[in-house]
Point group: C2
Chain length 366, copies 2
């Protein structure tokens, strides 16, 4: 493991795409104001239509002092194909906000816009960190124990063993450097915990991860129910599986809320019981408020990029902004770069290729 002592960044500039999401400036500006209250060291570059931005910004004079508006007319539409957005969105608020990061005028970009377009542009402009082959989308999911970081949630249809290992480093560094968990636990998502379960790529990744020193503690394979149970701090999977798992979790959350509403909302007695149980119910609501978990973290890029949910309100948007600011403040990418170097050094000692094949052939004959 490398030396992770990083000096905290003192002042942070965040580029905001003000035109994305269902609510546009009406979520972005009030959201930025909320975040600014909590983080006095943050200032903003606001990208989008000047008049739209100003009409809301005037209501937040304290924020106004910490903002600079960069006018642009173009907007990436929610249903633009990534390839189309790359071609025709060169002067869009999304693209110019990303450019600000690559040109060093901002430390971080936050957008509620089109996910595919944002990822495509961020990859093209910011590129991957050295030693990272592909970026991943990560998000915190509430669990019995607190929350678990799950990645990838949709950037990669399939993964090879190197992707899994790199995602493991990205996730563990986030848990350690940004969330402050001193020795985060991590697992690879599979359909069973035995060595022989799942795809060969997963088995190879597990064989390597069991042998190398990494930030945090690798716990081997975990299963779908470990997400909600919070068995580990970080769960790594491919983007297809992660996307289905995340959305399944959302759907089951919806089912529970609907079932409770149905039981408590449809009769006079139920509504009365709800009023009497209001306090514990508020506790549950607060504990499982998805807005607190807003912020798809694009990890592995040479720059910090956060995707806020398209339907985010100002409270949710503020959490995405704070997530980005904390990644910058704690030097996330610098720590990742150090850990990747440390991994490369270990690779020179071990012969990973031999390791992979030895373990797999043993498994196959088990």
């Amino acid at each position: 493991m490398s030396d992770n002592s990083i000096n905290k960044k003192q002042t942070i500039t965040i580029a905001l795409d003000c035109m994305g999401g269902d609510k546009g400036v009406h979520a972005v500006i009030p959201g930025a104001a909320r975040a600014a209250k909590q983080m006095p060291n943050v200032s903003f570059l606001l990208f989008g239509r000047k008049n739209d931005i100003q009409s809301v910004l005037v209501k937040y004079p304290k924020l106004e002092n910490r903002c600079e508006i960069v006018h642009c007319d173009d907007v990436v539409a929610g249903d633009d194909k990534p390839s189309a957005a790359l071609r025709s969105g060169r002067k869009s608020s999304m693209r110019l906000a990303i450019n600000a990061v690559s040109e060093g005028r901002a430390d971080c970009i936050v957008s509620s816009g089109n996910t595919g377009a944002l990822m495509a542009m961020a990859k093209l402009v910011l590129k991957c960190l050295p030693g990272i082959h592909r970026p991943a989308i990560a998000s915190l999911i509430p669990t019995v124990r607190g929350s678990t970081l799950v990645l990838d949630l949709g950037a990669n249809l399939t993964c090879n063993e190197d992707n899994y290992i790199q995602f493991m480093i990205l996730g563990a560094v986030y848990a350690k450097a940004v969330l402050g968990i001193s020795s985060p636990t991590a697992g690879l998502l599979n359909i069973g915990t035995e060595d022989t379960k799942g795809h060969e790529m997963l088995q190879m990744a597990k064989a390597i991860l069991a042998q190398v020193e990494m930030p945090g503690e690798f716990k081997g394979f975990v299963e779908g129910d470990d997400i909600g149970k919070g068995t580990v701090d970080v769960i790594v999977t491919d983007g297809f599986t992660g996307n289905v798992a995340l959305k399944t979790a959302e759907g089951i959350g919806h089912l529970f809320r609907e079932t409770l509403q149905d039981a408590f909302g449809k009769s006079l007695f139920g509504r009365l019981a709800y009023l009497l149980a209001y306090k514990p119910f508020s506790k549950v609501k607060k504990r499982l408020d998805h807005r607190v978990y807003n912020g798809g973290l694009f990890l592995g890029l040479n720059g910090v990029c956060i995707k806020s949910h398209g339907s985010a309100d100002d409270y949710a948007f503020s959490h995405a902004v704070i997530a980005g600011a904390k990644m910058v403040e704690n030097g996330f990418n610098t720590v990742v770069a150090n850990e990747i170097k440390a991994l490369e050094n270990q690779k020179q000692k071990h012969d990973f290729d031999e390791l992979k094949h030895a373990d797999i052939s043993e498994m196959a004959s088990a």
Copy 2:
């Protein structure tokens, strides 16, 4: 679509592996008694250690009259590898119960034992239905609208387009013939609903399913949250994704229950509020009682085989028995065979191979 009018089977014999699961005979026999009350046309063959079985069976004299015990000493252990169970479990209660189905002495087998061993033995002994390349594990999952049948939940790590299409037929026939849904809706699980999303195999399956006549109505791609929302009656996926989704749903269910317990159970006020809200809470509990959904249906085999959850109590086990009995009663496998024939006839009209490649190349250039 083929003619689905099937005469209901009048008498049904179910082979029960009495030695499987955490509770063995103590869940199987009382569970069979519960099921027998609801289905007067069912009788049982009980496989396992005679003394163990009889010690519980004497408590259920009405059931006793409808049972025949087949003594066997051997038991497949919960942690036996499928390959080991195949080799050394030839005289186990699980294997002999499956043999009873293949030899026509029983119509259906239900076991709470080792899933991998049960699937391996069932595949070897019963074999697949003509035209079905691989069996799938299916289960009902509670949704806002009622329940959705999801398959595959773990029998196949990956699937090709033919597997997806065959699973679609299996699922739709189950919804129609067994659940009595006159025109079931069905979707393919993906990470988005657009044609270009996901793996090529999924895109090919979608292209074909959009063109052929099937039992029920194909709705295209669905996403993870559609499981809990109950958007469609049947959801088809590969066994890796399905297994992760099912377990993720279980984990999130666990999270909701724990969070509610924490809010209502930790203070005097909370406990009081719970008592006052007891009635609506019982409604919620009943609605989401996982025991009602017990029964992993092994679909596509030339014989009906049901896997009850290892931790099932008698109430849960009775639901697995009833699920099997209903498949037999409604001639599930006969209807599937008819639908597969109907599909083959359509294949002769369409050129599926050309269709696949035409659609895919269009997508790639989209």
